[in-house]
Symmetry: C2
Subunit: 750 residues, 2 copies
């Protein structure tokens, strides 16, 4: 369920330029690595990727479908043919598929004419075996009720509706996509008392507001529907019945009716063609400006009993196989240090952009590395290529595998490198910041297919352009890193693809990379038009960026697998954490100032006086004032981490002077070092998420929250939690600093 | 042509609370003024205003029409019946009316089905004598050409188009309303080489983006067209053939073909229904995000020879009568000091909101004051009520009158108080800042019809609400004046109504006031639906705000006319000018910083690398870097003005100790004091505009530019002008300070 750049900016990041070549590959001759990378590049073929994409996207490939199993076997067989050990490792996961989906305007016009086949799109006419539009993990149900338009369906929207005197209690909530992860919308709707939920794709987000509708352009047509999952992924991903452990045969499973991640109300996604018919009859008050999308009328919020909708969903709830394909190239000298590389292969319908465009790039790396191995090369570390099944429904394949193999991964995994759907545009990377230097180094060495400069240089130009255009929309000019030289920062990971269990549950350092921003796959996202035909016209013609992705990811894998000592730079991590802390402090200060203003407004009755008496808005609700929060422990811990990181990085310059035993001791000291950042009891309300630095937001979903234990506590006014998690996070940072000091001891011969 | 609050925020301002009653009315017992104001209020009747509005808006009343002349005579006769001396003073002005207007898509569907009569709107079916949709002062012409969509048609839009490789040369420019004054659009289009121009009302601005379309709500329907004038009003308003002097019979007139204010290309306004048909065929590249409105498709910019439009306009160019009604109530004790109060009465079609809603409020004041006079009261100063004709075409009536009577006005006018269309909502005021205190005092004494608090208190609440909501869209919290107590600032005047010649040409202190923000008259603005029916449903039901306007304007007139010494506070002016100077300095600093960034981007070729190669954007054009600009003379002059104003205001506390001769001397010292702020040679390119503090922007039109000689020079990179006008403006401020010192001398018995 690849994150779309248009909807989640937090994970976007840029890259390098001008730094030393082969940054981070300590103590191995650059020429040797360069020679390997040349062989990697020689094995990359956009044409081959194109052919695989066409084949693998030729039929519906959702979890449990015939073609999805065929794709699993094809991937396995290909990897075997390239010389890898490859097996299908199956988990038995809960994955509901629709038996009946029905939406009617009682006494109104017919709805549901979604996604017709069109001559410009060959597979759109091959829908045998395809599932109709639905969302997985909504409840079974049959409800008839009035409807309320809730905008994005996020907390601020319900606050505004309450001040308008409008409730979804006993009604069906109609939300639009955007603003936060899909699954939050029915979750919050059911918490507000709604009896059902609909989610539609407003043309502002990915329809004609973004690009001309398909097939004229790549935008979502009025009939397009975004499928997806709607369980409470912010609680835990993976099989809703087996939180924290592998969904193997015979595993203990929660009762489906009470599993906390599964929705309790029926939910359906709909097209904006259908939404227009509902809006035309919805009645009620005019919607606030923030609720307005791009449909051609003045939006209203309903709730006035102007119409009734009947919403019925019935699913088939049996367990389905999640057929992960696991391929290995055993390490020659450090077989118990693993570099894990993954991309999923299950789609919602044909899945050309999401996920197969990333999958074929990963397969191409596998072919190139396999051929190098056949010719006699062996990596120092073990390389594992994982083709995940069942990512779309809650990251099931990767999560169950990571949970099931958790102990071994904690001991052995040095890096998890993820990709997902890919497209034309700019290189983006996000993840564990001690890997930032290596990512920048690689980005400096891969050519952009369209401009001929490095993908790092192009990303740098994009940062400058975005900064300039942002300023032209009102900001003050300020220097950005891209203007000053030095590495470009990588982003923080929230959720939305298969890195989640590795990073946030196990503490395995993780990266997620890809290209995009000039593709139009937002318009086909999770619909039947996410097809080969759409992809090669609007997303990555000729798969040029597929080839660039193979070269980029392949280099990261090679440098991670071949480095004699792990290529990490911790000052980048320390500086990043320092920045996060500054943000959290500014958040608390700004929030306290706004709280004072809010209290003054409530006292003066500003809304009673100044909101339109013919369209009134109630006063702001009172809130607990944000107190001054003591971040002294965090200041001290960040300072300690900065000092330890600086000393470690400095000492690392002498790593090549270590003998082989010394290098082994150093690698051992660094392996698993990020686990110091795990919080034993996890985050508030969701112990599965344990990372002190990165988490998907409770109210953003895919979007990352950094220093989540503290930041979300401030935002949600759990001020005791903010202080408690400041202490816990500080302890984690101190622990990391301590482990860095130990590793530096190895470098300094102690 | 009343400024719409939705499109011009610069003139919006708020008001007072909690200050001393009857502020500014030096040396007259408060009880005496309060008694007069009670008599004023007793003469105000919303019902009467409603009846007048219905009558006066019952037939088309554009300049030269039969009903417009009837309205002039009705106003004159009413004032006479209330005891005023009243005459019609006619000027012979150039006012073109359409003989033929034609727009066709060559070989395409029919256009032009604008503004049908509808059963919900009685006058919409009485279009005999109405003019078809057109804009006045566009050229005659008949052109057939391709079309380019130029967004708002402002300089930034043409810069972006040029970087896309698109020119309007030889083509018809299609602009949307908004972003700047209507007349700038064809002016800039012709400068860019366009052969014709169209202006359409995008639903984002005043259609369903603002309110449900009429008659469901008050928003502009798909057939609605905004008429208006398109001459170069930023050069000079008034008759294009008689700049600077009255268009009396026999006056020397410029040649129409070469008069600089008249457009050289044909221009028509169109509905968004028609615009949609053009956009559906326009072709060419996708429009940038800033060009996108609310129509339901991905906007394209055309220029690809995908269609041809034929645009033909032929007008009847004879002189027409501008029948100003001038009514006088001679002053008992200071007959040669005039308080002038104005509102226009000509409309584009029925003109219910614009201008008659303001006109009937003014008439009601006239009735109340007249009845007081009949009962024996006489104002101290002479009161002149002016009902202007021919405001819609370039402020013709008021400008010719002010130019013709310029010498006398400079000698006698103490204040010009203007209103225009009025509606439900918040009190707003803008104008000469030494009158800010009086305006605040009045606003504290008039009740808001909907909430029962004072209109000042409601305006204060609105400022706080807007500030809060602005911060929720991203700004940092900061205190606004409304939270801190003290007066609320009034805005600065640009253009758009009849104060322009008084304030900016003659230096007569001026105020423009009104209510709005909860009305929906944007949707009927300058169309046939600006009707009585629309007004009483959506703009000011029951004319409750018409009555409030009468009470407010009547109080300002009374306090100005009755004050024994002119009720001015110059520290408000000085503080405002100090703020303007800080803005201009910040503008120069920010612009210099952006210039440096821009130069770096051009050097790095950022757009070549980062704009989409399949949708490329050329590099930013190079600009002359903004130098450090020496504002020392302005700093010194502002400091001098602050000191002189503070000393004067302090001395004014003792004004009531002056004897009658002293008061006469003080009034004489203050009369015409603002003329110190006039620049003898006027502003660059436009000598007609002479005020050093306030002007309509060269590239905003109605929107005000403060310290215009300096500010616009910085913005337009005329850095020598910026320094030259800093010196001239400083000299004007010093001159004002000198006159204040003289006035203070009177107060201090020197």
């Amino acid at each position: 369920m690849r994150i779309l750049a248009r909807t989640v900016s937090g994970v976007v990041a840029g890259l390098l330029a001008g730094a030393a070549p082969l940054a981070g590959v300590a103590a191995k001759p650059a020429a040797e690595i360069r020679a390997l990378e040349a062989r990697l590049d020689a094995g990359i073929s956009a044409e081959l990727q194109d052919a695989w994409l066409k084949r693998m996207a030729s039929a519906p490939n959702h979890v449990g479908s015939k073609h999805n199993r065929e794709n699993a076997e094809f991937i396995r067989d290909q990897f075997r043919s390239w010389g890898w050990e490859a097996e299908i490792e199956t988990f038995d996961v809960l994955y509901p598929t629709p038996l009946e989906t029905r939406l009617e305007i009682v006494g109104g016009p017919k709805l549901g004419g979604q996604e017709p086949g069109i001559p410009e799109d060959a597979t759109s006419n091959r829908l045998k075996d395809a599932l109709p539009p639905y969302v997985a993990f909504g409840a079974d149900g049959d409800v008839t009720a009035d409807v309320v338009y809730v905008n994005y369906g996020l907390p601020a929207d319900y606050e505004l509706l309450a001040r308008m005197g409008i409730s979804v209690k006993g009604k069906i909530a109609l939300a639009r996509y955007g603003g936060g992860w899909r699954g939050l919308k029915p979750k919050l709707a059911q918490e507000q008392g709604a009896v059902g939920a609909l989610i539609y794709s407003d043309p502002e987000q990915d329809g004609f507001g973004a690009a001309p509708p398909y097939p004229e352009g790549g935008g979502r047509p009025s009939t397009g529907v975004q499928r997806g999952s709607v369980a409470d992924m912010t609680l835990y991903p993976g099989d809703p019945l087996t939180p924290g452990y592998g969904a193997v045969k015979g595993a203990k499973r929660l009762d489906r009716e009470t599993a906390p991640a599964i929705m309790k109300i029926p939910v359906l996604p709909i097209s904006y063609g259908d939404a227009e018919k509902i809006f035309a009859r919805i009645g009620g008050r005019l919607a606030p400006a923030s609720f307005t999308g791009r449909l051609p009328f003045a939006y209203r919020v309903g709730g006035a009993e102007a119409l009734k909708l009947r919403l019925k969903v019935k699913s088939e709830w049996s367990l389905k196989p999640a057929d992960n394909v696991i391929a290995r190239l055993p390490g020659a000298t450090r077989p118990n240090e693993w570099v894990v590389r993954g991309n999923h292969f299950d789609g919602w319908v044909f899945g050309a952009a999401d996920p197969l465009s990333g999958m074929v790039a990963m397969m191409n790396e596998g072919k190139a590395l396999g051929e190098m191995a056949k010719a006699g090369w062996r990596p120092d570390r073990t390389i594992i290529y994982a083709a995940w099944d069942a990512e779309e429904p809650l990251l099931l394949g990767s999560t169950e595998w990571a949970e099931h193999h958790g102990d071994e991964l904690r001991r052995k995994a040095v890096l998890y490198l993820n990709t997902d759907g890919n497209g034309r545009g700019f290189f983006r990377a996000a993840g564990s910041h001690e890997w930032q230097r290596l990512v920048n180094g690689v980005a400096n060495d891969v050519r952009d297919p369209q401009t001929g400069v490095s993908i790092g240089e192009r990303a740098r130009a994009k940062v400058r352009l975005d900064d300039w255009e942002g300023q032209n929309r009102g900001g003050a000019p300020a220097l950005v890193a891209a203007e000053m030289g030095g590495d470009l920062p990588i982003g923080a990971l929230g959720s939305g693809s298969d890195y989640s269990a590795f990073l946030q549950h196990l503490g395995v350092p993780s990266l997620n990379i890809g290209f995009g921003g000039e593709n139009q796959s937002a318009g086909s996202y999770h619909s039947i038009y996410d097809s080969y035909d759409h992809f090669v016209r609007f997303d990555d013609p000729g798969l040029a960026y597929g080839a660039a992705l193979s070269k980029t990811a392949g280099r990261i894998v090679l440098r991670a697998a071949e480095a004699e000592v792990l290529p990490l730079r911790f000052t980048d991590l320390a500086a990043t954490v320092k920045g996060y802390l500054a943000e959290v402090k500014a958040l608390a200060t700004t929030q306290a100032s706004k709280d004072a203003k809010r209290a003054g407004m409530i006292g003066a009755g500003v809304y009673a006086l100044a909101s339109d008496p013919m369209d009134p808005l109630g006063e702001l609700p009172a809130v607990a004032r944000t107190p001054k929060l003591d971040m002294g422990a965090m200041d001290a811990a960040v300072a300690k981490l900065e000092a330890s990181a600086a000393a470690f990085d400095k000492a690392m310059a002498g790593a090549d002077k270590l003998d082989a035993a010394g290098k082994d001791r150093l690698n051992a000291a660094l392996l698993g070092i990020d686990q110091a950042l795990l919080l034993a009891e996890g985050l508030p309300f969701r112990p599965w998420y344990r990372h002190a630095l990165y988490a998907p937001g409770r109210f953003t979903g895919y979007g990352a929250k950094t220093l989540p234990g503290i930041r979300e506590a401030v935002e949600e006014r759990r001020f005791d939690d903010a202080l408690a998690y400041a202490a816990k996070t500080a302890a984690a940072l101190e622990a990391l600093a301590g482990r860095l000091d130990v590793a530096r001891g190895v470098l300094e011969g102690r």
